[in-house]
Symmetry: D2
Subunit: 229 residues, 4 copies
């Protein structure tokens, strides 16, 4: 069952999507030229991001109207909170960042803008609005990981960010993202039917996806800026 | 702009709708035979109901995605809290009920069930889900008022409930209800388009309307039962 | 860290608590005299209950302000949706109820009243309001299981409801309930400090607990009534 | 009845508060040196801001637990949507901006960050968390208006921003802000009692106020930057 909404969403803001997926932050990460303190700043904000990202997935559980949707969303939320955050903390430790330090840092406005926008789409709209706001992150990271491992400019050997590239290009993450995409398609089918563009909601959904993509670009911009204290 | 969703919703649960609109509580109210302590019990619960009903309309403001929707919903909320509740309190005083007394009474489970169901539909779904859950109350009361003034068994002169009948059959309330219906049709058009039954959401919307109607019946049943303390 | 709020909550509505914990439904279940179709009605509504109970725990994840709270709540939500619901369905099958059948049944108003009241306390208040509304269910069931196995009138051998009694008196469930109580105490300490009764919120919290207890009584009342079709 | 929480909140982040209240945007506005296209950019974003600010006040209605709180909040929401937005649109027209134009502009991330942060504090916390997140805007603007009219560097005659200065220094707006402050004090008293700093929640409330203040600074920073298209 699929509404095939995702390709339409991406196509509706192709320039923003391109700017997000191939952002300078990603390109520098792929070829290893990203300054290390940019990466540390990003890692710290990503730690704070994961907390609110988990909250958004928990909200999806509370908003779902079918058991299969609830189970999918709670499995993601549980994995994030009880598994992936620990991995992230362990990885950050390799970069000299302790969890206590990161928990003390103020969230960057670009971080707040994206996470709270997603949560607000969830509260103001329905499950589909929420999932469309989450899509650029969940599925976008898989696309970023996928182009990185195949791109000629990517350096794997000796790249300090190798573990990051491998995590998001890995089959395990690709599968998580494919699962999330499947969930979006199923909910789109249930909430608007097989022709998303013909729906009265299309314009709202398109705007949500574009705004979320724009805020992801802001997250990378933040990653390129040196930490502010 | 209209999706004409309301007639479809009513038709989808015609028996429950009939049981609600022509409930014994309403018939006894129309012919004046309703025991007065039933009416007092109803008035008290209705006072508590109005508080949570106002909260549901406020939630509609927070969930709306267009200024015209927000303005409609806030006008209703403001009228309820800053005007109609005072009228209700004044009317209750004529029945010997003070606001302090009513505020002390515990909400009846039937009251809780309906108001919190509406609020939950608002939180789990989008503005359309919320408005469909509100519809049986807002629009249904206008239909009840309308049949009452025309029905041969209705007694106006000397009916202790005359003011109630006149309030809901009055042009002013009929207009409020027509406005609410217009809002639902507009939001339905915007969220699912011109053919509500063809939408993937139809089954959910239909269930919401039926459940809300069923809970309205429970509210009348409560009205017929003597107060529990 | 503990505010010791739970004993105060129970003491503040001792009669209602007693009426809930030792309800006729529970006593008949303990001595095996409960009519089987009452139990089947209860099992079906409990299936529907678990869905909205899970949503309330998911809401707790979204509302939590500390990682330990989020992790506790998501672990409960995940266990409910990915483990306990399957056990419940399996148990219901032994009583001749299939999941498809149960999913088709309309929620009883008493069921709607309790679950949506809890969700509404979560949406209108903070995490503490939500947890206090959940407490009568989570912790109450452990108290019910605990008295049942020790009570002289309880029949274990040959009791058709033996499995139910054993599940809630079992160390595993007692531990889940103790964990939930610990969470409430911790959140109470963080949100209102060590003296809950002195807090400006005490009256609201007390009312929430009493209302939730009252709605649990309504759930048992529903369990005693024959299924309505 | 007052918890006197507001002075404590300001004192807890005195530097950020100072940076917000006397921001370069405000100083240039007061002496008339602010570039006009900065002001137009600000006006447009402020139009979009008012929509989500209204939603936050509507959420306060839905979350309130006392009728006086509900009435206060709905009066503010109604005034914003049915009165102040029209005034703002009229004022913007004098600057050559039409409502249709403004409604088309994408929200600046700094705008999204602040409004959605406030809404999220409302959804995750209770009414007090929400009001504390709203305070820097509602009350802060009155403080800004107040210093402007008294400051020696302020130019009133011939200042293109004279109307703005007069609006926020005017007795009418000062009264609105005083009312909002009264509401916060009342809710603080009800939710945490007379000693806010002794409350278990103090640290969370302090952080909320500081973050909201920081995001207000971001809003002024945005105002100084030229429009991005």
């Amino acid at each position: 069952m699929s509404a095939d909404i995702y390709p339409h969403l991406k196509a509706s803001c192709a320039d923003a999507w391109e700017a997000y997926i191939h952002h300078a932050f990603c390109r520098q990460l792929a070829n290893g030229s990203l300054p290390e303190d940019c990466f540390r700043h990003y890692l710290t904000q990503d730690y704070l991001f994961l907390i609110h990202f988990s909250r958004a997935w928990a909200l999806a559980v509370a908003k779902a109207e079918h058991l299969d949707e609830m189970r999918h969303a709670v499995t993601v939320t549980d994995a994030l909170l009880n598994h992936e955050m620990a991995l992230h903390v362990k990885y950050c430790a390799e970069w000299g960042l302790t969890e206590d330090q990161m928990a003390e840092v103020a969230e960057d406005p670009a971080n707040i803008a994206y996470t709270r926008y997603v949560l607000d789409r969830g509260h103001s709209g329905d499950l589909l609005d929420l999932l469309v706001a989450l899509a650029p992150c969940v599925i976008g990271y898989a696309e970023i990981g996928a182009w990185m491992v195949k791109h000629p400019d990517t350096r794997i050997e000796g790249n300090p960010y190798r573990a990051w590239i491998e995590m998001y290009s890995d089959a395990e993450y690709q599968e998580v993202a494919a699962g999330a995409r499947g969930l979006i398609e199923k909910v789109a089918e249930r909430r608007i039917g097989a022709e998303p563009i013909a729906s009265g909601r299309w314009n709202t959904l398109r705007q949500t996806f574009e705004t979320a993509t724009r805020l992801e670009i802001g997250f990378w911009d933040m990653g390129l800026a040196p930490a502010r204290g």
